[in-house]
Amino acid sequence: MALLTDGSAESPEVDFRRLMRKRFISLSLLVVVLAVSAFVSIMIGTLGPIGPGKPEYISFGDAFGAIFQGHGHWPDYYDDVFWDVRIPRVVLGALVGAALACAGTAMQAVFRNPMADPYIVGVSSGASLGAVIAGLTGLAGIAFLGWLILPAFAFVTALLTVFAVYFLGAVGGKVNVNTLLLSGIAVAAFIGAVVSTMIYFSGQDYHRIIFWMLGSLSMVSWTAVIVVFFAVLVGAIVVYVFSRDLNALLLGEEVAHNLGVDPESLKTTMLIVAAVMTSAAVAFTGVIGFVGLIIPHMVRLVVGADHRTLVPAATLSGAIFLIWTDALSRTVIAPSELPVGIITALCGGPFFLYLLRRYGMAGESS
C-alpha cells in the first residue's frame, strides 16, 4: 500500500512506521475530542449549566452531582434531565453521526463517486414510506408502543427498498455501480412520489410524518440508543475490517481483483452493512442530511484516502460533528429547537468549502 503514503520515503519500513504513528496520533486526538465534546454538550441545555437557565438554573456542581451520584441536595428531577433527556440524546447523536459518516465513506468507496452518500441506494425514501404507513394506519398513535412501531416500519421498508434497488441494479448477478446508482435514483423518486401522495391525503395525521421527515434527535429513548449502538458497532467494525479491500477497490475493480479482492462480494457486503447502519439511524431520527456526504470528504482531505485511517477517523468525526450541530440546534432559539438538518448544512457547507480551498481537490481521491 505504499502508493497511498507520501511517496517520499527512504525505505518502506520507515515509511510504514511514520504512517502508523500519524494514524495513531490522529485517531487518539479524535477520541479525546469526541469525549470532550460529549461531556461539554451534556452540560448544554435550557436549564444550564451552559445555557439560558430558564425556568431553573442548574449549577456545574449540581450537574456533576446529579450525573454521578443521582440524588442529593438538588431537586430529584435533575437526575431525569441528565439521564433521560440529555445523555441519551448526546449518545444517540454521536451514534447516528458515526453511522452516517461510516456508511457514507463505504458508499463513496463502493460507488467511486464523490456524490455518493448513505442514502444513495434508497434508504431515506424507503424509511419515509414505512414512517408514513405507520403514521397513516394509526399504529404510530398507540401510546408507549407507537413510538417503537414507527421506527420498526421505517427500518423494514428502508431495508426492503435497498434490496429492491440492489436486485433491479444487479444485472446477471454482477453489481454495476452505475446501474445501481441510476436504479437507486429511480426507485427513490418513485417511492418519494408515493410518500408525497399519501401525505397529501393524510389530513390531520400529516404532522407525525413531517416531524419524522425533518430529522431530529428529540425523539430519543434508551431503547433507540441501544438499537443504534449495536448497528453502528457491528457496521463500523465490518467496514474497518474491509478497509484494505476498499483501498484496492479505489484503483478499479480489475486491479482489486488482481490484488486478490473479490469486488462483487465486497460491494454486496458494504451495501448491506451501510444499509443496516443507515436504516437503524434513520428509523429513530428521520433523515439527517449532509453528514454522510460531507464528513467523509472533509476527513479524506485531512488524513488522506487510506481507508485504514479514513474509516475510523470519519466515524469519529461524524459523531463529533453531529454532537455539536445538535447542541446548536437545542440552544440557538431555545426554548425551541431548530431542526438539526438545517444546522448540519449551515455549518458543514462553508467549512467544507474552506477545506476544499485550503487543501484543494488534490487531496481528494475519487
Binding site: 435550557t46 428531577y77 434531565v81 433527556v85 413510538w147 397529501y200 431530529s216 428529540s218 429513548s221 431555545a334
Partner: protein, 316 residues
C-alpha cells in the same frame, strides 16, 4: 384467527372483548370514568379526545399547556392560575405572555420537567414521542383536539372535570351552546338561503382551503353557508383557480394574521376572478386566522362573525 375462535380459545375472546371495549371508549371519547359530579375525587380517570384513558392522582395543581386552544380553554374556565408553562404559540389571553415558554411542536423536555407539572394538556400536533417520554417520568398528558363545534363544548366540560373547575366549565359551555343555537336558529331555518362560501387560508404555491371533516367546513355549514370545497378529497385541500371560478362563490373569506399575505385586492387582481359573484359584489372579508383555527371558547365569536358575513340580513 377464524379457526381459533371456532375452537373457543378463551384468549381470543378476551382479546376481542378488549379491542371492542377500547373501540367503544375511543368512540365515546371525552366521557369521564369514575369521577363524581363535584369533580373532587381522589384519583380519577378521564378519556381524552383521542380515546386515551388517563388516570390522575387528584386535581392537578401545576399544568403545562402546550397548544393555544387548550390554553384558551383553561383560562376561560378559570384554571389559568394553574398553568405554569405554555408553548410559544399560546398568545391568548394576554396573561399568557408572562408564563414560562416550553417550546413548540417539539417540546423542550427538560424545561417541562423543571416546571414539575402534574399534567400536560396538549393539542394533537405536538411530538408524541416526547409526551410519552414525559409520561414515563410521571407527567401524564391529555389530548384536547376535537374539531367540531359540538366537540369543543365536550372538550371544555372535560377540561372542567380535569381541573376541578366543573361549574365554571359548564357555565362557559352552556353559554356557548346558547349562543351557538341562537345563531343556528337563524342560519339553519328552512327559508334561509345557503350562499356559497370560499375560505382561503393561504395562497402559498396554490390555493388552500378547508375540505370535508375540517373545522372550517363545519363552521361554514353552521353559519348557514355552503362550503364550495365540501366535496373535495382531503381535509385541507389545495384547489385549482378554475375550480373556484367554476364554483362561483358568493362570499370569499381570507384569513388575516402575522403570516398572511392575503387582502381584498388579492382577489380583485387574480386573473380570471373578475366575474366571480363575491368579487363583483365585493363580498370579500378578512378574518383573524386564530379565530378560525383554534377549537377554544372563541370559536363562538368566529361562528357569529362568519354568520354575520354570510347572512347580513339576519344579523343587523
Amino acid at each position: 384467527m377464524e379457526a381459533q375462535r371456532r375452537k373457543g380459545s378463551p384468549k381470543i375472546v378476551w382479546v376481542t372483548l378488549a379491542i371492542v371495549l377500547t373501540a367503544v371508549f375511543a368512540f365515546s371519547g371525552g366521557y369521564i370514568v369514575g369521577a363524581n359530579e363535584s369533580g373532587q375525587p381522589h384519583g380519577f380517570t378521564v378519556i381524552d379526545d383521542y380515546g386515551r384513558a388517563i388516570t390522575l392522582d387528584g386535581i392537578p395543581e401545576r399544568i403545562v399547556s402546550v397548544a393555544p386552544s387548550p390554553t384558551e380553554i383553561l383560562f376561560a374556565i378559570g384554571a389559568g392560575a394553574h398553568i405554569v408553562g405554555v408553548d410559544n404559540y399560546s398568545d391568548f389571553p394576554a396573561e399568557v405572555a408572562d408564563i414560562t415558554k416550553v417550546g413548540d411542536y417539539n417540546l423542550n423536555v427538560e424545561a417541562v420537567i423543571a416546571l414539575q407539572p402534574d399534567l400536560i394538556v396538549t393539542g394533537d400536533l405536538v411530538n408524541r414521542q416526547q409526551l410519552d417520554l414525559l409520561a414515563t417520568k410521571g407527567i401524564p398528558y391529555v389530548i384536547l383536539a376535537d374539531r367540531t363545534l359540538e366537540g369543543v363544548l365536550k372538550t371544555i366540560r372535560l377540561a372542567g372535570v380535569i381541573t376541578g373547575h366543573v361549574s365554571e366549565a359548564n357555565h362557559v359551555a352552556d353559554d356557548m351552546e346558547s349562543r351557538i343555537s341562537a345563531v343556528k336558529n337563524l342560519t339553519l331555518a328552512a327559508d334561509v338561503s345557503s350562499p356559497k362560501v370560499y375560505i382561503e387560508y393561504d395562497e402559498y404555491q396554490g390555493l388552500w382551503t378547508y375540505g370535508p371533516g375540517s373545522f372550517g367546513d363545519d363552521l361554514i355549514t353552521q353559519a348557514g353557508g355552503t362550503n364550495i370545497a365540501h366535496n373535495t378529497s382531503s381535509e385541507y385541500p389545495k384547489v385549482a383557480s378554475e375550480f373556484v371560478i367554476a364554483e362561483d362563490p358568493n362570499i370569499i373569506v381570507y384569513t388575516t394574521g402575522p403570516w398572511s399575505t392575503l387582502s381584498s385586492s388579492t382577489y380583485h387582481d387574480r386573473p380570471g376572478w373578475g366575474n366571480i359573484s363575491a368579487v363583483t359584489n365585493d363580498k370579500i372579508y378578512g378574518m383573524d386566522a386564530n379565530l378560525l383555527s383554534r377549537y377554544g371558547p372563541r370559536i363562538v365569536d368566529c361562528l357569529e362573525q362568519l354568520a354575520a358575513l354570510i347572512h347580513p340580513e339576519l344579523f343587523p
